[in-house]
């Protein structure tokens, strides 16, 4: 009889005890907030008791992974204060003693270690599956060996240098060609130039103005 009464008390008491352990603002508990519609939009699944069970299982897995103890089970994760936002509180009890809670710091470590797996289990991200109080570790900045802008700069400067060199070479060649042209047939060119101008035909070569009439400037 006594055993029967004790058994009944346990059945009633255990959940009640569990409720005492898990409450809003529990010292060793965390609040979880899930934003399904933001993350998945139209493909959002419904959050129901099965999903809650899945969460318990995932958390148990995270605890197992962190402590490397195979004893954590779904019953060790107690959930409470569910809202339609989809947010709830949870606490973790020790597998050896169900009245003892695992300290907040240890739970945090476990969550951080398996955060990626937990997120992926629910098709969510750090932003849409929030553990309030556990800040996501920032991604390490990717530092490439050469900053990409230097590469583009190098290409542009290379092209500019090639351009400048080509310019200088072409102007040197032009100058040399001109000089050759002038020295080889200097006399002929002069006559040709003068004749050319007289006939109104423009010839190649520089028109040497030193040999023309400057009415303006010879008036004294």
């Amino acid at each position: 009889m006594l055993v029967w009464i004790l058994f009944l008390l346990c059945q009633v008491g255990a959940p009640a005890l569990a409720q005492d352990l898990c409450q809003r603002d529990a010292p060793n508990g965390y609040k979880v907030r899930i934003s399904l519609k933001t993350a998945l939009g139209e493909d959002a699944y419904e959050w129901n008791q099965s999903e809650m069970f899945f969460f318990q299982a995932t958390m148990a897995f995270a605890m197992r992974r962190h402590f490397q103890m195979e004893t954590y089970n779904v019953d060790n994760i107690i959930l409470c204060v569910q809202t339609s936002r989809v947010s709830f509180w949870f606490v973790v009890t020790s597998p050896d003693n169900t009245t003892m809670l695992i300290p907040k710091a240890d739970v945090e470590k476990a969550v951080r270690m398996s955060r990626h797996r937990i997120n992926n289990a629910f098709l969510l991200s750090d932003r849409t599956l929030e553990f309030l109080g556990i800040y996501p570790t920032l991604a390490a900045p990717v530092n490439p060996d050469t900053p990409p802008w230097l590469i583009v700069f190098g290409v542009v400067i290379g092209a500019v240098c090639v351009g400048i060199i080509a310019l200088l070479i072409s102007s040197l060649l032009q100058k040399r060609r001109k000089e050759k042209g002038m020295t080889e047939d200097g006399q002929d060119e002069e006559d040709m130039q003068v004749k050319g101008v007289e006939n109104g035909i423009n010839l190649d070569g520089t028109y040497n103005r030193g040999f023309t009439d400057d009415d303006r400037f010879t008036k004294l």
């Binding site: 907030r33 934003s35 399904l36 519609k37 933001t38 809202t83 339609s84 936002r85 989809v86 947010s87 570790t137 920032l138 991604a139 390490a140 900045p141 990409p148 802008w149 230097l150 590469i151 583009v152 700069f153 542009v156 400067i157 500019v160 240098c161 351009g163 400048i164 310019l167 200088l168 102007s171 100058k175 003068v194 004749k195 101008v197 007289e198 109104g200 423009n202 520089t206 028109y207 040497n208 103005r209 030193g210 040999f211 023309t212 009439d213 400057d214 009415d215 303006r216 400037f217 010879t218 008036k219 004294l220």
Partner: protein, 651 residues
Amino acid sequence: IQLKCLQVSNQDLEERIPSYEELEKLENEEAGDRPKWDNKAQYMLTIVGFCVGLGNVWRFPYLCQSHGGGAFMIPFLILLVLEGVPLLHLEFAIGQRLRKGSVGVWSAIHPYLTGIGIGSMCVSFLVSLYYNTIMAWVMWYFFNSFQETLPWSQCPVNANMTGLVSECERSSPVDYYWYRETLNTTPDIDNTGGLQWWMVLCHVSAWALLFICISRGIETTGKAVYITSTLPYAVLTIFLIRGLTLKGSLNGVKFLFTPDMNELMNPTTWLDAGAQVFYSFSLAFGGLLSFSSYNSVHNNCEQDAVIISIVNGATAVYAATVIYTIIGFRATEKFDDCISGNILTLLNTFDLPEGNVTENNYDQVLHSLNGTYPEVIQGLNLKTCDLNSFLSEGVEGTGLAFIVFTEAITKMPVSPVWSVLFFIMLFCLGLSSMFGNIEGVLVPLQDLGVFPKSWPKEAIAGTTCVLCCLVGLIFVQGSGNYWLSLFDSYGGSIPLLIIAFCEMVGVVYLYGIDRFNDDIEFMIGHKPNLFWQITWRFVSPAIMFVIFVFYFITKVQETPMYKAWNPESENFPTLEEKEYPSWIFAIIFILAGIPGLSVPLTAIYKCLRNRCCKKDNEFKQDDLNTIAKQVHLTDEATKNKPDIPETADGR
């Protein structure tokens, strides 16, 4: 004006300028070593490129929006017709007629007016210095656009990886990127902050690119403008199409063009419109004069002036529309983010299911919640989201290009492509304007004989570029941004007004409006009609004078202030208004005073030199002595004087 000094030289005006016969000969025989345009298209593209610059993209849209939107078009168009077109026609005509650069033209009209040319050269030099630094900034952003995630889209992580950099978190990633990672600004102009090596690299590459394009004068720029003048239009069209397909773009366009007729009563509107028309046409820089002088003598400069004005005005309006579609998109995104943020806060605080509060019922829900839980709502510090305030955020100058627009680009899909396109467009716009600025520096230097005649064009261009590059290193220091705004406000504003006014007065009253009319009749076949006569003689100089007086009074009355980026200031991230230190006034005087005062000072100097040497024939004698050296003489060819070589050499 009947001063004794002036009477002497006016008689010799005909001797200083080519006569009609000489011009015809030049035209027919194509004998000359003055460069020529390969075709009319090159000339038009160069002028369009010079006039259409960064100001059309980042100054005009701001003015338009802040002065009553569509209503601003009215003063802008009126002043374009009364001020812009006449001045443009004047510069084109006088350059084409006298066939010299700015110093050459003004010293030919009257030796005492050489100061106008020198003033133009000084202004062109000062503007070139800082304008190319903006090109360097554009190149920096361009180089950094070739990454999948643009570096200004997110804040960097701080040293111990616990969070984002504080300066960035308090302001925004784009602000941080501009002020810290690009400029590395110091909190005030007194701290120089040292040279920023990455900026020095970009600065050098900007000047090197410019050198390639201008090394042989219009021979090279004429080819470059095919790209630099046309590409911006292509990119603007691409952005327009992209912009119109984005959400919220029409909000921006509506905001831009909604007319507010009350603004027309405000004199500042008319003043800003006049100043914008003036600066937008790049008048008084000397570049337009130079470019026109390479034209054939009978080129229809009247038609050109009208076409260019229309193109310039239309481009300004087109660019404004494009810019504001993108700004409208950005403002709408920010507004949506703001509202979403508030909605999320409400949902989280009250544990309401997602989707209960949307943008549509936000106000109702907030109101009802405020009724039931007022203290909680107060404690939440919800942000007020106002679309209009987002639309009018800092959308002028470098702030528009490097902060607002880059932020908008990060929100667009395939951001790197848009970023690359945008900065190529800005670079082309600026480079084509730089061609004109540098032309306004190089040609007067050649006319003044600063460089030995034996130096080839490339050497002159190279030396000038190297010199400007070195002096321009001021702008790549930590405090460079403040120096740049200083140069922009004082070097590129007041002196131009003075020079343009003197130009008009010089041509109309000293050169003689009758002679000018005859010149135009010779060049294009008919005399300029009544509109030109009235505007040249009275209307345009009057408008210039009024704008100058108002600008001068406003600038002199206000204490010069500048806006500084100071992370330690109270209102960070709002820019802190600081007063300039006292030694800046010397710099301001040099920037604004020297080009402006060069007109009277040169006149006085020449007058004194003339008087003190007491020879009326001094000018002629100078010319005689240099016959043997001069090869630019415009004169007829003869074949009948075989003994001339000896006498020319002998002298």
